[in-house]
Protein backbone atom coordinates (compact mmCIF):
# COMPACT_ATOMS: atom_id res chain seq x y z
CA UNK A 1 0.00 0.00 0.00
CA UNK A 2 1.75 3.08 -1.13
CA UNK A 3 1.06 6.18 -3.14
CA UNK A 4 4.06 8.30 -2.31
CA UNK A 5 6.57 5.47 -2.50
CA UNK A 6 4.98 3.72 -5.48
CA UNK A 7 7.08 2.86 -8.54
CA UNK A 8 7.31 5.95 -10.61
CA UNK A 9 9.23 7.20 -13.63
CA UNK A 10 10.01 10.86 -13.08
CA UNK A 11 8.26 12.84 -15.78
CA UNK A 12 5.38 10.39 -16.31
CA UNK A 13 2.75 12.57 -14.61
CA UNK A 14 3.86 15.71 -16.38
CA UNK A 15 3.83 14.01 -19.81
CA UNK A 16 0.29 12.79 -19.24
CA UNK A 17 -0.84 16.22 -18.04
CA UNK A 18 0.63 18.00 -21.04
CA UNK A 19 -1.31 15.70 -23.38
CA UNK A 20 -4.51 16.95 -21.73
CA UNK A 21 -6.12 20.37 -21.68
CA UNK A 22 -5.74 22.32 -18.44
CA UNK A 23 -9.46 21.75 -17.80
CA UNK A 24 -9.00 17.98 -18.11
CA UNK A 25 -6.09 18.10 -15.66
CA UNK A 26 -8.23 19.98 -13.15
CA UNK A 27 -11.04 17.49 -13.71
CA UNK A 28 -8.72 14.55 -13.03
CA UNK A 29 -7.48 16.08 -9.78
CA UNK A 30 -11.07 16.81 -8.76
CA UNK A 31 -12.11 13.22 -9.49
CA UNK A 32 -9.25 11.94 -7.35
CA UNK A 33 -10.67 13.78 -4.36
CA UNK A 34 -7.17 15.07 -3.48
CA UNK A 35 -7.28 17.51 -0.56
CA UNK A 36 -4.53 19.74 0.79
CA UNK A 37 -1.95 17.73 2.75
CA UNK A 38 -0.78 20.69 4.82
CA UNK A 39 -3.67 19.99 7.16
CA UNK A 40 -6.52 22.26 6.10
CA UNK A 41 -7.75 19.76 3.53
CA UNK A 42 -9.03 22.17 0.91
CA UNK A 43 -9.87 20.32 -2.34
CA UNK A 44 -6.85 20.77 -4.63
CA UNK A 45 -8.74 20.62 -7.92
CA UNK A 46 -11.08 23.38 -6.78
CA UNK A 47 -8.15 25.54 -5.71
CA UNK A 48 -6.58 25.16 -9.14
CA UNK A 49 -9.89 25.90 -10.87
CA UNK A 50 -10.43 29.10 -8.84
CA UNK A 51 -6.95 30.30 -9.70
CA UNK A 52 -7.43 29.47 -13.37
CA UNK A 53 -10.67 31.45 -13.51
CA UNK A 54 -9.44 34.45 -11.51
CA UNK A 55 -8.47 37.66 -13.29
CA UNK A 56 -4.77 38.51 -13.40
CA UNK A 57 -1.87 39.34 -15.70
CA UNK A 58 0.22 36.56 -14.25
CA UNK A 59 -0.35 33.52 -12.04
CA UNK A 60 1.96 31.86 -9.54
CA UNK A 61 2.44 28.40 -8.08
CA UNK A 62 3.93 28.38 -4.61
CA UNK A 63 5.06 25.22 -2.89
CA UNK A 64 4.71 25.56 0.84
CA UNK A 65 7.82 23.82 2.17
CA UNK A 66 7.65 25.71 5.45
CA UNK A 67 6.56 22.74 7.52
CA UNK A 68 6.78 24.17 11.00
CA UNK A 69 3.95 22.49 12.84
CA UNK A 70 5.51 20.87 15.90
CA UNK A 71 5.90 17.15 15.31
CA UNK A 72 5.87 17.38 11.51
CA UNK A 73 8.87 16.32 9.46
CA UNK A 74 7.46 14.41 6.49
CA UNK A 75 8.34 17.17 4.01
CA UNK A 76 11.93 16.96 5.16
CA UNK A 77 12.01 13.38 3.86
CA UNK A 78 10.06 14.24 0.71
CA UNK A 79 12.34 17.14 -0.18
CA UNK A 80 15.39 14.99 0.37
CA UNK A 81 14.15 12.08 -1.74
CA UNK A 82 11.51 13.39 -4.11
CA UNK A 83 12.09 16.98 -5.16
CA UNK A 84 12.09 15.90 -8.85
CA UNK A 85 8.49 14.69 -8.47
CA UNK A 86 7.58 17.81 -6.49
CA UNK A 87 8.82 20.01 -9.34
CA UNK A 88 6.72 17.95 -11.72
CA UNK A 89 3.68 18.52 -9.53
CA UNK A 90 4.36 22.25 -9.62
CA UNK A 91 4.66 22.18 -13.41
CA UNK A 92 1.37 20.27 -13.65
CA UNK A 93 -0.32 22.84 -11.41
CA UNK A 94 1.18 25.58 -13.57
CA UNK A 95 -0.20 24.03 -16.75
CA UNK A 96 -3.60 23.65 -15.07
CA UNK A 97 -3.88 27.25 -13.88
CA UNK A 98 -1.77 29.03 -16.52
CA UNK A 99 1.25 30.00 -14.42
CA UNK A 100 4.75 30.69 -15.73
CA UNK A 101 6.60 30.92 -12.46
CA UNK A 102 6.77 29.10 -9.19
CA UNK A 103 8.44 29.46 -5.83
CA UNK A 104 9.42 26.89 -3.28
CA UNK A 105 9.34 28.54 0.14
CA UNK A 106 11.77 26.39 2.09
CA UNK A 107 11.82 26.81 5.85
CA UNK A 108 15.04 28.27 7.24
CA UNK A 109 15.51 25.24 9.48
CA UNK A 110 15.91 23.12 6.31
CA UNK A 111 18.69 25.26 4.88
CA UNK A 112 20.84 22.15 4.66
CA UNK A 113 18.38 20.82 2.04
CA UNK A 114 18.90 23.83 -0.21
CA UNK A 115 21.66 22.20 -2.31
CA UNK A 116 19.46 19.13 -2.82
CA UNK A 117 16.49 21.22 -3.95
CA UNK A 118 18.53 23.55 -6.16
CA UNK A 119 20.31 20.56 -7.66
CA UNK A 120 16.97 18.98 -8.54
CA UNK A 121 15.81 22.23 -10.15
CA UNK A 122 18.91 22.37 -12.35
CA UNK A 123 18.52 18.73 -13.26
CA UNK A 124 14.85 19.26 -14.17
CA UNK A 125 15.81 22.19 -16.42
CA UNK A 126 18.39 20.04 -18.20
CA UNK A 127 15.91 17.19 -18.57
CA UNK A 128 13.20 19.45 -19.97
CA UNK A 129 10.84 19.09 -17.00
CA UNK A 130 11.21 22.81 -16.28
CA UNK A 131 11.63 25.60 -18.81
CA UNK A 132 9.91 25.33 -22.18
CA UNK A 133 7.50 22.45 -21.69
CA UNK A 134 5.17 22.76 -24.64
CA UNK A 135 4.47 25.24 -27.44
CA UNK A 136 3.45 28.42 -25.67
CA UNK A 137 3.97 27.02 -22.17
CA UNK A 138 7.02 27.79 -20.07
CA UNK A 139 7.45 27.25 -16.38
CA UNK A 140 10.36 27.73 -14.03
CA UNK A 141 10.87 27.49 -10.27
CA UNK A 142 13.10 29.25 -7.79
CA UNK A 143 13.64 28.71 -4.06
CA UNK A 144 13.25 31.31 -1.35
CA UNK A 145 14.59 30.37 2.04
CA UNK A 146 12.53 31.31 5.10
CA UNK A 147 14.12 32.49 8.32
CA UNK A 148 12.31 30.80 11.17
CA UNK A 149 8.72 31.90 11.67
CA UNK A 150 6.00 29.32 12.27
CA UNK A 151 3.20 31.56 11.03
CA UNK A 152 4.80 31.71 7.57
CA UNK A 153 3.46 28.20 7.00
CA UNK A 154 0.05 29.88 6.88
CA UNK A 155 -0.46 30.67 3.21
CA UNK A 156 -1.16 34.39 3.46
CA UNK A 157 1.74 34.95 5.85
CA UNK A 158 3.94 32.94 3.50
CA UNK A 159 2.97 35.17 0.59
CA UNK A 160 3.67 38.28 2.64
CA UNK A 161 7.06 36.89 3.61
CA UNK A 162 7.89 36.42 -0.09
CA UNK A 163 6.68 39.93 -0.79
CA UNK A 164 8.87 41.56 1.85
CA UNK A 165 5.93 42.44 4.05
CA UNK A 166 5.97 41.79 7.78
CA UNK A 167 3.39 39.07 8.25
CA UNK A 168 -0.04 39.72 9.57
CA UNK A 169 -0.18 43.43 8.98
CA UNK A 170 -2.37 44.00 6.03
CA UNK A 171 -4.58 41.30 4.76
CA UNK A 172 -8.07 40.19 5.49
CA UNK A 173 -9.79 37.40 3.61
CA UNK A 174 -11.50 37.30 1.21
CA UNK A 175 -10.00 37.83 -1.29
CA UNK A 176 -8.18 34.51 -1.06
CA UNK A 177 -4.75 33.89 -2.60
CA UNK A 178 -6.34 32.10 -5.57
CA UNK A 179 -7.78 35.49 -6.54
CA UNK A 180 -5.26 37.92 -5.12
CA UNK A 181 -2.15 36.26 -3.77
CA UNK A 182 1.49 36.95 -4.49
CA UNK A 183 1.81 40.60 -5.69
CA UNK A 184 -1.98 40.54 -5.91
CA UNK A 185 -2.02 37.95 -8.67
CA UNK A 186 -3.91 34.64 -8.61
CA UNK A 187 -1.71 32.26 -6.65
CA UNK A 188 -1.93 28.58 -5.78
CA UNK A 189 -0.22 27.64 -2.53
CA UNK A 190 0.10 23.87 -2.14
CA UNK A 191 1.92 21.67 0.34
CA UNK A 192 4.90 19.55 -0.76
CA UNK A 193 2.99 16.29 -0.28
CA UNK A 194 -0.05 17.59 -2.16
CA UNK A 195 2.01 18.47 -5.24
CA UNK A 196 3.84 15.13 -5.24
CA UNK A 197 0.51 13.33 -5.01
CA UNK A 198 -0.90 15.41 -7.86
CA UNK A 199 1.98 14.23 -10.09
CA UNK A 200 1.32 10.61 -9.17
CA UNK A 201 -2.40 10.98 -9.76
CA UNK A 202 -1.73 12.31 -13.25
CA UNK A 203 0.48 9.30 -13.97
CA UNK A 204 -1.72 6.58 -12.48
CA UNK A 205 -5.23 8.03 -12.66
CA UNK A 206 -7.77 9.25 -10.15
CA UNK A 207 -9.25 5.76 -9.64
CA UNK A 208 -5.88 4.39 -8.51
CA UNK A 209 -5.70 7.12 -5.87
CA UNK A 210 -9.27 6.66 -4.70
CA UNK A 211 -8.76 2.97 -3.93
CA UNK A 212 -7.13 4.15 -0.68
CA UNK A 213 -8.71 6.13 2.10
CA UNK A 214 -12.31 7.07 2.84
CA UNK A 215 -15.06 8.64 0.74
CA UNK A 216 -14.32 12.14 2.03
CA UNK A 217 -10.59 11.71 2.56
CA UNK A 218 -9.29 9.84 -0.45
CA UNK A 219 -5.81 8.42 -0.79
CA UNK A 220 -3.06 8.16 1.74
CA UNK A 221 -1.39 10.49 4.21
CA UNK A 222 2.17 10.78 5.33
CA UNK A 223 2.36 10.82 9.09
CA UNK A 224 5.30 12.01 11.15
CA UNK A 225 5.40 10.07 14.41
CA UNK A 226 7.39 11.24 17.41
CA UNK A 227 7.27 11.10 21.19
CA UNK A 228 7.00 7.96 23.30
CA UNK A 229 7.06 5.25 20.64
CA UNK A 230 9.51 2.49 19.77
CA UNK A 231 9.84 3.46 16.09
CA UNK A 232 9.43 7.17 15.44
CA UNK A 233 9.59 8.27 11.80
CA UNK A 234 7.54 8.90 8.67
CA UNK A 235 4.76 6.46 7.77
CA UNK A 236 2.29 6.39 4.91
CA UNK A 237 -1.19 5.33 5.98
CA UNK A 238 -4.56 5.19 4.25
CA UNK A 239 -7.00 7.75 5.58
CA UNK A 240 -9.47 6.14 7.95
CA UNK A 241 -6.90 4.30 10.08
CA UNK A 242 -7.73 4.31 13.79
CA UNK A 243 -5.33 5.80 16.30
CA UNK A 244 -5.05 2.33 17.84
CA UNK A 245 -3.94 0.76 14.55
CA UNK A 246 -1.47 3.57 14.05
CA UNK A 247 0.00 3.14 17.54
CA UNK A 248 0.31 -0.59 17.00
CA UNK A 249 2.25 0.04 13.79
CA UNK A 250 4.75 2.42 15.41
CA UNK A 251 5.22 0.65 18.74
CA UNK A 252 3.23 3.07 20.82
CA UNK A 253 0.56 0.91 22.47
CA UNK A 254 0.04 1.81 26.11
CA UNK A 255 0.12 5.53 25.41
CA UNK A 256 -1.85 7.90 27.60
CA UNK A 257 -2.77 10.32 24.84
CA UNK A 258 -1.87 11.31 21.30
CA UNK A 259 -1.67 14.82 19.90
CA UNK A 260 -2.78 14.72 16.27
CA UNK A 261 -2.11 17.70 14.04
CA UNK A 262 0.72 19.20 16.06
CA UNK A 263 0.52 22.00 18.56
CA UNK A 264 -2.49 23.37 16.71
CA UNK A 265 -4.17 19.96 16.52
CA UNK A 266 -6.23 18.06 19.05
CA UNK A 267 -5.43 15.71 21.87
CA UNK A 268 -6.98 12.24 21.77
CA UNK A 269 -7.04 10.33 25.09
CA UNK A 270 -6.57 6.55 25.25
CA UNK A 271 -10.33 5.86 25.70
CA UNK A 272 -10.86 7.09 22.13
CA UNK A 273 -7.96 5.31 20.40
CA UNK A 274 -10.10 2.57 18.84
CA UNK A 275 -12.91 4.81 17.65
CA UNK A 276 -11.17 7.90 16.32
CA UNK A 277 -9.65 7.82 12.85
CA UNK A 278 -7.14 9.92 10.95
CA UNK A 279 -9.31 11.62 8.31
CA UNK A 280 -10.43 15.12 7.46
CA UNK A 281 -13.96 14.24 8.62
CA UNK A 282 -12.76 12.90 11.98
CA UNK A 283 -9.29 13.81 13.26
CA UNK A 284 -7.56 15.93 10.63
CA UNK A 285 -3.80 16.36 10.48
CA UNK A 286 -1.07 17.88 8.40
CA UNK A 287 0.88 14.82 9.43
CA UNK A 288 1.96 15.34 13.01
CA UNK A 289 1.34 12.59 15.55
CA UNK A 290 2.98 13.05 18.95
CA UNK A 291 2.59 10.19 21.41
CA UNK A 292 2.57 10.62 25.18
CA UNK A 293 3.42 7.67 27.37
CA UNK A 294 1.66 6.83 30.65
CA UNK A 295 4.05 8.85 32.82
CA UNK A 296 3.64 12.16 31.03
CA UNK A 297 2.16 15.23 32.68
CA UNK A 298 -0.28 16.63 30.10
CA UNK A 299 -0.19 20.07 31.71
CA UNK A 300 3.54 20.15 31.02
CA UNK A 301 2.75 19.32 27.41
CA UNK A 302 0.14 22.06 27.23
CA UNK A 303 2.53 24.55 28.80
CA UNK A 304 5.10 23.74 26.11
CA UNK A 305 2.46 24.28 23.40
CA UNK A 306 1.37 27.59 24.89
CA UNK A 307 4.96 28.82 25.15
CA UNK A 308 5.26 27.95 21.50
CA UNK A 309 2.17 29.95 20.52
CA UNK A 310 3.14 32.97 22.63
CA UNK A 311 6.47 32.98 20.85
CA UNK A 312 5.07 32.48 17.35
CA UNK A 313 2.00 34.72 17.40
CA UNK A 314 2.76 37.57 15.00
CA UNK A 315 1.12 39.92 17.48
CA UNK A 316 -1.09 41.72 15.01
CA UNK A 317 -4.54 40.81 16.27
CA UNK A 318 -5.46 41.14 19.92
CA UNK A 319 -7.25 37.83 20.60
CA UNK A 320 -4.16 35.89 19.58
CA UNK A 321 -1.48 38.20 21.00
CA UNK A 322 -3.13 38.62 24.40
CA UNK A 323 -5.12 35.39 24.50
CA UNK A 324 -2.08 33.15 24.23
CA UNK A 325 -0.45 34.86 27.18
CA UNK A 326 -3.52 34.41 29.36
CA UNK A 327 -3.83 30.74 28.38
CA UNK A 328 -0.16 30.17 29.21
CA UNK A 329 -0.59 31.87 32.58
CA UNK A 330 -3.59 29.66 33.30
CA UNK A 331 -1.62 26.49 32.61
CA UNK A 332 1.24 27.70 34.79
CA UNK A 333 -1.22 28.51 37.55
CA UNK A 334 -2.58 24.98 37.35
CA UNK A 335 0.89 23.48 37.44
CA UNK A 336 1.85 25.52 40.47
CA UNK A 337 -1.36 24.57 42.27
CA UNK A 338 -2.78 28.12 42.24
CA UNK A 339 -5.65 27.67 39.80
CA UNK A 340 -9.34 27.13 40.50
CA UNK A 341 -12.15 25.84 38.31
CA UNK A 342 -13.02 29.47 37.64
CA UNK A 343 -9.61 30.18 36.03
CA UNK A 344 -10.13 27.26 33.70
CA UNK A 345 -13.64 28.37 32.76
CA UNK A 346 -12.43 31.89 31.99
CA UNK A 347 -9.67 30.47 29.81
CA UNK A 348 -12.16 28.28 27.96
CA UNK A 349 -14.33 31.34 27.33
CA UNK A 350 -11.31 33.11 25.93
CA UNK A 351 -10.75 30.16 23.60
CA UNK A 352 -14.15 30.81 21.99
CA UNK A 353 -13.17 34.42 21.43
CA UNK A 354 -9.85 33.46 19.90
CA UNK A 355 -11.45 30.96 17.54
CA UNK A 356 -14.02 33.51 16.43
CA UNK A 357 -12.00 36.71 16.31
CA UNK A 358 -8.43 35.83 15.35
CA UNK A 359 -7.53 36.80 11.83
CA UNK A 360 -5.51 33.78 10.75
CA UNK A 361 -5.27 30.07 11.39
CA UNK A 362 -2.74 30.45 14.18
CA UNK A 363 -5.00 32.21 16.68
CA UNK A 364 -8.05 30.34 15.44
CA UNK A 365 -6.53 26.95 16.14
CA UNK A 366 -4.92 27.56 19.54
CA UNK A 367 -8.21 26.51 21.20
CA UNK A 368 -7.80 23.02 19.65
CA UNK A 369 -5.02 21.86 21.96
CA UNK A 370 -6.13 23.96 24.90
CA UNK A 371 -9.74 22.75 24.96
CA UNK A 372 -8.93 19.13 24.22
CA UNK A 373 -6.06 18.75 26.68
CA UNK A 374 -7.91 20.72 29.33
CA UNK A 375 -11.12 18.81 28.62
CA UNK A 376 -9.51 15.42 29.11
CA UNK A 377 -6.83 16.14 31.68
CA UNK A 378 -7.77 19.44 33.33
CA UNK A 379 -9.90 17.99 36.12
CA UNK A 380 -7.20 15.52 37.04
CA UNK A 381 -4.64 18.33 37.19
CA UNK A 382 -6.91 20.57 39.26
CA UNK A 383 -7.58 17.70 41.66
CA UNK A 384 -3.86 17.07 42.03
CA UNK A 385 -3.36 20.76 42.75
CA UNK A 386 -6.20 20.63 45.30
CA UNK A 387 -4.54 17.75 47.10
CA UNK A 388 -1.33 19.71 47.33
CA UNK A 389 -3.15 22.66 48.86
Amino acid sequence: MSVIYSDYNVGAGLSKALEMTPEQVIETIKESGLRGRGGAGFPTGMKWEFARRAEGDERFIICNADEGEPGTFKDRELLRDMTPVLLEGMAIAAWAVGARRGFIYLRGEYRYLLPVVNGAIEEARRAGRLGSLKDGFEFDVEVTLGAGAYVCGEEMALIESLEGVRSGEYRNRPPYPVEKGFINMPTVVNNVETLIKAAKIMAHGSGWFRQYGTEKSTGTKLISVSGDVAQPGVYEIPFGMTIHELLKMVGGLGAKAVQVGGASGICIPSEEFSTRTIAFEDVPTGGSVIVFGPGRDMMEVLENFMEFFCDESCGYCTPCREGNVVLLETVRKIRSGQATRNDVDLALGLCSTMRLASKCGLGQSVPNPFESIMGHFGDEALARAGERR
Partner: protein
Amino acid sequence: MSTNELTRQIKEEIEELSRKRNLPRHTLLMNSLHRIQEEYGYIPDFAMQELSEITGIAPAEVNAYVSFYHFFSTEPTGRHKVWFCRTISCHLAGKDQIVKAVQDRFGVKMGQTTPDGRFTFAFTNCMGMCDKGPAMLIDGETYTKLTPEKVLEILEKYE
Protein backbone atom coordinates in the same frame (compact mmCIF):
# COMPACT_ATOMS: atom_id res chain seq x y z
CA MET B 1 33.62 44.63 8.83
CA SER B 2 34.71 48.21 9.24
CA THR B 3 32.87 49.54 6.23
CA ASN B 4 29.37 50.82 6.76
CA GLU B 5 27.95 50.29 3.37
CA LEU B 6 26.96 47.17 1.50
CA THR B 7 29.69 45.71 -0.67
CA ARG B 8 29.48 46.27 -4.40
CA GLN B 9 29.32 42.51 -4.81
CA ILE B 10 26.15 42.22 -2.72
CA LYS B 11 24.50 45.14 -4.45
CA GLU B 12 25.27 43.61 -7.83
CA GLU B 13 23.87 40.27 -6.76
CA ILE B 14 20.64 41.91 -5.64
CA GLU B 15 20.37 43.81 -8.93
CA GLU B 16 21.07 40.62 -10.85
CA LEU B 17 18.21 38.87 -9.04
CA SER B 18 15.99 41.84 -9.71
CA ARG B 19 16.72 41.76 -13.46
CA LYS B 20 16.26 38.01 -13.63
CA ARG B 21 12.93 38.10 -11.82
CA ASN B 22 11.40 41.30 -13.07
CA LEU B 23 9.09 41.49 -10.07
CA PRO B 24 8.30 44.45 -7.78
CA ARG B 25 11.46 45.38 -5.88
CA HIS B 26 9.97 44.78 -2.44
CA THR B 27 10.03 41.05 -3.22
CA LEU B 28 13.85 41.17 -3.05
CA LEU B 29 13.86 41.61 0.71
CA MET B 30 14.03 38.03 2.02
CA ASN B 31 16.76 36.86 -0.37
CA SER B 32 18.79 40.03 0.22
CA LEU B 33 18.64 39.63 3.99
CA HIS B 34 19.94 36.07 3.79
CA ARG B 35 22.83 37.26 1.63
CA ILE B 36 23.64 40.13 4.00
CA GLN B 37 23.59 37.94 7.07
CA GLU B 38 25.83 35.44 5.32
CA GLU B 39 28.34 38.27 4.67
CA TYR B 40 28.24 40.15 7.96
CA GLY B 41 26.96 37.54 10.40
CA TYR B 42 24.02 39.77 11.25
CA ILE B 43 21.91 42.52 9.68
CA PRO B 44 23.61 45.84 10.46
CA ASP B 45 21.62 49.08 10.66
CA PHE B 46 23.25 50.52 7.56
CA ALA B 47 22.21 47.41 5.62
CA MET B 48 18.58 47.90 6.59
CA GLN B 49 18.86 51.54 5.54
CA GLU B 50 20.31 50.60 2.19
CA LEU B 51 17.84 47.79 1.67
CA SER B 52 15.11 50.31 2.26
CA GLU B 53 16.47 52.38 -0.63
CA ILE B 54 16.96 49.32 -2.82
CA THR B 55 13.52 47.82 -2.22
CA GLY B 56 11.42 50.93 -1.66
CA ILE B 57 10.24 49.60 1.72
CA ALA B 58 10.30 52.12 4.61
CA PRO B 59 13.28 51.61 6.96
CA ALA B 60 11.02 50.95 9.95
CA GLU B 61 9.21 48.28 7.96
CA VAL B 62 12.47 46.62 6.95
CA ASN B 63 13.38 46.58 10.63
CA ALA B 64 9.97 45.16 11.59
CA TYR B 65 10.39 42.43 8.98
CA VAL B 66 13.89 41.53 10.16
CA SER B 67 12.85 41.41 13.81
CA PHE B 68 10.01 39.05 12.95
CA TYR B 69 12.30 36.12 12.11
CA HIS B 70 14.18 33.92 14.60
CA PHE B 71 17.17 33.52 12.29
CA PHE B 72 17.89 37.16 11.54
CA SER B 73 19.86 39.12 14.08
CA THR B 74 20.25 42.88 14.24
CA GLU B 75 23.20 42.58 16.62
CA PRO B 76 26.59 40.98 16.06
CA THR B 77 26.65 37.40 17.30
CA GLY B 78 29.28 34.78 18.03
CA ARG B 79 31.19 33.10 15.22
CA HIS B 80 28.83 30.14 15.43
CA LYS B 81 25.14 30.32 16.04
CA VAL B 82 23.76 27.39 17.94
CA TRP B 83 20.04 26.84 18.12
CA PHE B 84 18.44 24.32 20.44
CA CYS B 85 14.97 23.05 19.69
CA ARG B 86 12.68 23.65 22.65
CA THR B 87 9.45 22.33 21.17
CA ILE B 88 7.48 19.38 22.45
CA SER B 89 9.18 16.27 21.03
CA CYS B 90 12.68 17.54 21.80
CA HIS B 91 11.39 18.68 25.19
CA LEU B 92 10.08 15.17 25.91
CA ALA B 93 13.37 13.70 24.68
CA GLY B 94 15.28 15.67 27.31
CA LYS B 95 16.33 19.00 25.83
CA ASP B 96 16.68 20.50 29.35
CA GLN B 97 19.66 18.28 30.16
CA ILE B 98 21.35 19.22 26.88
CA VAL B 99 20.91 22.92 27.53
CA LYS B 100 22.09 22.54 31.11
CA ALA B 101 25.27 20.78 29.99
CA VAL B 102 26.01 23.58 27.54
CA GLN B 103 25.26 26.35 30.03
CA ASP B 104 27.44 24.69 32.67
CA ARG B 105 30.34 24.20 30.26
CA PHE B 106 30.32 27.69 28.71
CA GLY B 107 28.92 29.74 31.57
CA VAL B 108 26.35 31.58 29.48
CA LYS B 109 22.61 31.36 29.17
CA MET B 110 20.37 30.91 26.14
CA GLY B 111 20.31 34.12 24.13
CA GLN B 112 23.89 34.99 25.14
CA THR B 113 27.28 34.93 23.44
CA THR B 114 30.36 33.36 25.00
CA PRO B 115 32.91 36.00 26.16
CA ASP B 116 35.42 34.79 23.54
CA GLY B 117 32.86 35.40 20.79
CA ARG B 118 32.90 31.76 19.77
CA PHE B 119 29.24 30.82 20.20
CA THR B 120 25.86 32.44 20.48
CA PHE B 121 23.35 30.03 22.00
CA ALA B 122 19.59 30.35 21.66
CA PHE B 123 16.38 28.41 21.67
CA THR B 124 14.30 28.03 18.56
CA ASN B 125 11.02 26.30 17.88
CA CYS B 126 10.38 22.99 16.16
CA MET B 127 13.09 22.34 13.59
CA GLY B 128 11.52 19.23 12.09
CA MET B 129 13.81 16.72 13.79
CA CYS B 130 11.10 15.47 16.15
CA ASP B 131 11.85 11.79 15.49
CA LYS B 132 15.51 12.34 16.37
CA GLY B 133 15.43 14.68 19.30
CA PRO B 134 16.93 16.41 21.13
CA ALA B 135 18.15 18.40 18.15
CA MET B 136 20.23 21.50 17.48
CA LEU B 137 21.35 23.58 14.53
CA ILE B 138 24.89 24.97 14.25
CA ASP B 139 25.29 27.46 11.41
CA GLY B 140 22.48 25.73 9.53
CA GLU B 141 23.72 22.14 10.03
CA THR B 142 21.56 19.82 12.09
CA TYR B 143 22.68 17.56 14.89
CA THR B 144 20.29 15.05 16.39
CA LYS B 145 19.84 12.50 19.18
CA LEU B 146 21.98 14.63 21.44
CA THR B 147 23.16 13.59 24.85
CA PRO B 148 24.88 15.89 27.37
CA GLU B 149 28.24 14.29 26.43
CA LYS B 150 27.64 14.31 22.68
CA VAL B 151 26.61 17.96 22.51
CA LEU B 152 29.86 19.09 24.15
CA GLU B 153 31.92 16.89 21.83
CA ILE B 154 30.24 18.39 18.79
CA LEU B 155 30.69 21.96 20.02
CA GLU B 156 34.42 21.33 20.59
CA LYS B 157 34.82 20.88 16.84
CA TYR B 158 33.78 24.48 16.20
CA GLU B 159 36.66 26.92 16.71
